[in-house]
Every structure is written in C-alpha cells, then in structure tokens.
Symmetry: C2
Subunit: 346 residues, 2 copies
Amino acid sequence: MITREKEPPNLEMPFSALESFVTPNERFYIRCHFPIPKINERDWRLRVGGKVARPFEVIIDDLRQMPTQTITATLECAGNSRVFLVPKVKGVQWELGAVGNAEWTGVRLRELLQRAEMANKAREIILEGADNGTIAEPPRPSGKINFARSLPVEKAMDDVLLAFAMNGEPLSAAHGFPLRAVVPGWYGMASIKWLQRIIVTDQPFNGYYQSIDYAYWRRDEAGPALVPLTTMQVKAEIARPEDNEIIRANSKYLVKGAAWTAGAIVTKVEVSCDAGKSWGEATLNGEATENAWRLWEFEWQTPSPGGYTLMARATDSRGRMQPMERDANGGTYMISHCLPIEVEVR
Amino acid sequence: MITREKEPPNLEMPFSALESFVTPNERFYIRCHFPIPKINERDWRLRVGGKVARPFEVIIDDLRQMPTQTITATLECAGNSRVFLVPKVKGVQWELGAVGNAEWTGVRLRELLQRAEMANKAREIILEGADNGTIAEPPRPSGKINFARSLPVEKAMDDVLLAFAMNGEPLSAAHGFPLRAVVPGWYGMASIKWLQRIIVTDQPFNGYYQSIDYAYWRRDEAGPALVPLTTMQVKAEIARPEDNEIIRANSKYLVKGAAWTAGAIVTKVEVSCDAGKSWGEATLNGEATENAWRLWEFEWQTPSPGGYTLMARATDSRGRMQPMERDANGGTYMISHCLPIEVEVR
C-alpha cells in the first residue's frame, strides 16, 4: 500500500497490483478524516431517530440476527486521481488506487427506516460516524464535528446496505468496525464508516462534508450552485503499464485495468496508445454487475522505441463516455477525464 | 468616509459622524464585490422568469409608473465590526460604520411576482445583480459569476422593496443604479444592487454568496450545518466617544449611538462604562419603526483619570439581548456581541 498520510491513515493500493475482480481487504484503500475511533463492540449502539414515529437503538447482535444481504460494490474516493490535476490542488494526492471492489454483507438500511416509521415529510437520511475532530481551515465550524453525510430518502430506501462484513470477514477498524454504510454507485464519502446515528430529517442537510467539503459547482440557470457530490462518474483506469514503465519495443504487451460507473454497466472500454489520436476496443472480462467495476484488457502491439502516452476511455449503458478534458467545475473532485499514462518503449 | 478597499470600492462611515436618524447618501456605506457595473438606463432591463406562468421584462420607466412605496430601513453589512475580532479573520476590516438607515422608494417585489404568476411549487426567489467577476480563492466556481442571493417566497411576498430612490434621490452608481432590492431586517448582502434578474425556483438556491460566502454554521441535531445569513442580530453601537478618545475627568459626557434589530423594535439600550460590570439605561430617541434603527444617548458622569472601557447593549421587543461574548459559529459574520470602546479620561 502507498501511504499518503500517516495520521489519520490514508492509504491507497498501488493500482498496478490490480489482479482480481474482488479487491483483497489488505489492498483496499483507507480514507480517514479523523483518527480511527476506538470502538468496543459491547458498548457500541446504533441510534435511529429524528422525524420518525418510533426512535430506537440496536446493538450489533440485533443486526447480525436480521436477514442479511451480500452485494458487490465498487467504492471510489471522490478525490481519486487528484495527483493528475495541474496545477496541483489541495487535498490528499491520490494516484489511481483510491478505489476498490468488495463483497459487502449486512442489512438493508430500509429495514431500519421501516421499523422506525419515518414521517411522511421525511426528505433526507443523515448518517453519522463515530469519527470526529476539529477542522483547521476556514470556512469551518467551531468545535468538534462528526463525519456525517445525508442521502435522499429514495436512495436510502433503495439499495443502501449497512455492512458488518467485507469479503466475508468482519470489518477491520480502518474500514469502519463494527458497522459501515455502503452506498452503491456513490463516491466513497457517502459510505459512512463507524456508523453510530441515523437521523431522519425533513430539511436538506448542509453539514461540513456536503458543503465545504465533498461538494462541487453545478451550473444552473442562476449561475453555479454548490451541490453535494453523489454518484461516481464513468471511468476506466489503466493498471498496467504503470506510469513511467519501460516496455519492450516491437512486441506484445497486455494493457490491463478496471472500469466503473453508477446506476448502469460499463459497455465499452477503449484504449489509446497515442495520447488519444486513435482508439482500439478492449476486451471486457466477466459478467457486468451494476455498481461493481469490470476488469478489461487490451493487447498492444508495441511500436518502435520512443515515449508514448496511453489512455483508457469507458462508455456505459446510458451512453456516458469519459471526457478528454477536465471539467473545472468539479473543483478538486470527480477526476474522471482520460488520464495519461506515460511509458517508454525501448 | 473611510476607504477599506479602493477597487472595487468599499467604504464605511466614520461612525462617530452619526448625527441623524436618516443617514445622508454621501455617508452611507458602500459594499462592492466586483467593479461597479456601468449601466445605461435606456439599455437596462429587469427580467422576471423561472417557475412562473408569464415571464416578462420591464424597463425602469415601467417601474416608476407603478404604485410606489417609501420605507425606512437600516442596512448593515454582515461583516460590520469585523475589525473587533481577535484573532483577525479574513474579509474587509470594517469598524462600526458599515451600517446606515435610509428612506427607500420603489415598488414591492410581490407586485412583479404576482404579475408573473408564480408556480405553486415556488420556494425561493433568486435576485441577481449585474455585478460580476471571478473568485480567486477556493472553494470557488470556475469562470465569471454574478452576485446573487435568494429569499424564501414568504419574505419576497411580504415587505421586500425594489428601490430606485434613496432618501428622495435616484440611486447613485455605487448604491445600485438604476434598481436595487431592499430586504428589511436582513443583512445588506440580501439587498441586491444593480438588479437585473428575478428567478423563481422550486429548489433551495446554493450559489456562492449563500454557501461559501455569507453563510454561517448553525448547530443542529446532526451537528453544524452551513446556512445562509439572513436577519440582522440585535445590536447597539456607540458613536461617541470613539475608540481611544480623550475625555475630561469629573464632568458630563453624552454617550451616543444607534441600535437596531430585525422583525422587532429595540426596547432598551444599556451602557456600561466599566467593561460590563455595571449598566445604566440609555434614553431612546424618537418613535420605534420595525427594521429601522433607533438613536439613543446616555449621560456619563465621568470619573477620575484613567483608562475606561465603554459598552452598549440592546434588547428588543422579542426579548433578545446582545451577548457579551462572541459566538464563534458566526465565523466572520454577525458580529453583534458587546463591542468595547476604550477611552482615556484625563
């Protein structure tokens, strides 16, 4: 793993290590905003409240005894690939590996919301983690805050999972023990770790992590408006070759990677070995599953010696294709344009 | 006037010059975010659109021929008194004079909204000025933006005025010629100058000037949430003595100032000449008008030589009183705690 920040821990997979559809737990990226909370399973409670008829709390064994679901979902950090932005912008300088695909086991969020009997006017569901601390740079609230994000009621009642297991093992401390949300198709910030509170609200939630942080500028009729990040953009990443790799001339090289999107499936991945001038179609491996990535490969007949720029470009079943150019309104997030991988052919 | 920024012009009244209930136009503070737009009255149009049945546009003569209203309203910049914050925070370093009280003449915003026939689902009214430019510091949208703010439909349909005259004279270029909003009881940022568009929307508007700028942290059940600034806080300011004034010992000194609040009237002003230990009641001058300030005075029997700290504290008809301590959640705005004026008695 590549350490991007020591404390709190922020680590990514070296993406060239991509080998399997399911990312092994020890290879799954770790994103922490505050120190990892020390949680004793026996003391832990999940409280469900706000605009509900029947607020309640549960212990982890209550959840384990409910009907469980296992889903495969890809989580990508909203700032993944930030190191590719020129000029450099603030934030953790992720390369390609702040993304992973896992099998998550737990209970549906909707089961708990139904038990609580949400008010008709319920509009958003706030998920709050146990992780907390203070923000250094203005604009910032004073005092300690917890990491928290909200979901529209429709999404919360659809496919959101509260997971206690990852690839068949209990969650590790870094991945949200004892319980985390998994919000399929959304950037990772929505999948709250160390979940401790679910709050039903009838107002749009405008907490720190969906206004100052994890938000972008959407151009509306009345100019740009700051809106919370939600779904992942369609994106392919090249795992091999890695940036600055040296490759043998006049031979065959298997270009490999993964591609993902949200609320759709990846239907095509193209690879360019000449910085986007020409494109060839890659082979997609395995069956497509919505909100899980697809691995792909492309055989490159390597040319004569020289420097070459490789790019991959995904298209999804809704016809969305990665753009060649960065959309500046994304600010420091949603880096999903075609990323150049520079290689030397010798 | 005190120049706080040359271009765009940002000027405040030396508050010790306070002499009358109505602030003369040449003493009224000027707050500009972008260069003053050059507007030719004959080319100017006000467009009304968005979620309405009948979008339309008007020229200034159309508005002048409608039934007019004259209201007295105090406008205070949301960052007024920022120079009192320790440690220093970003923003224009206003002292006490980014506030003024004027008679505004124009037409009610509701007349235009009624003519446009708002949709039932209308929720907010966005007011957009002709002033525009780019934002330097992140988080920021890319490209040019116009200054814009929104109001809830209820406020827009209540007492908001679109003014073309200020104290009986046409608006000057710096004050929004040919037309500006006046939003009684709200901080000045809501009273859009150089008004050019009115957009009815069914969504909460989250533009730059009500999210990154002109917003504060409200502590809700789920932690602090970023919400747009709205109404002015109850506040008294001392005009005389001014900070660091030298005053004669064992004599009489007339302490003077103004006090204001929102959606209520100021019912009491107290003055302390010993840094808040003891308080005496000031005399309120004139009749109270909602959303306009009240002038007040207090006779101080000056003590023996030494350094003294004066403070004023207002209470309104809703029982709200200025706090002694700054609420840090206000960030760089709503500076309404009791402000210390240091004097030397000789």
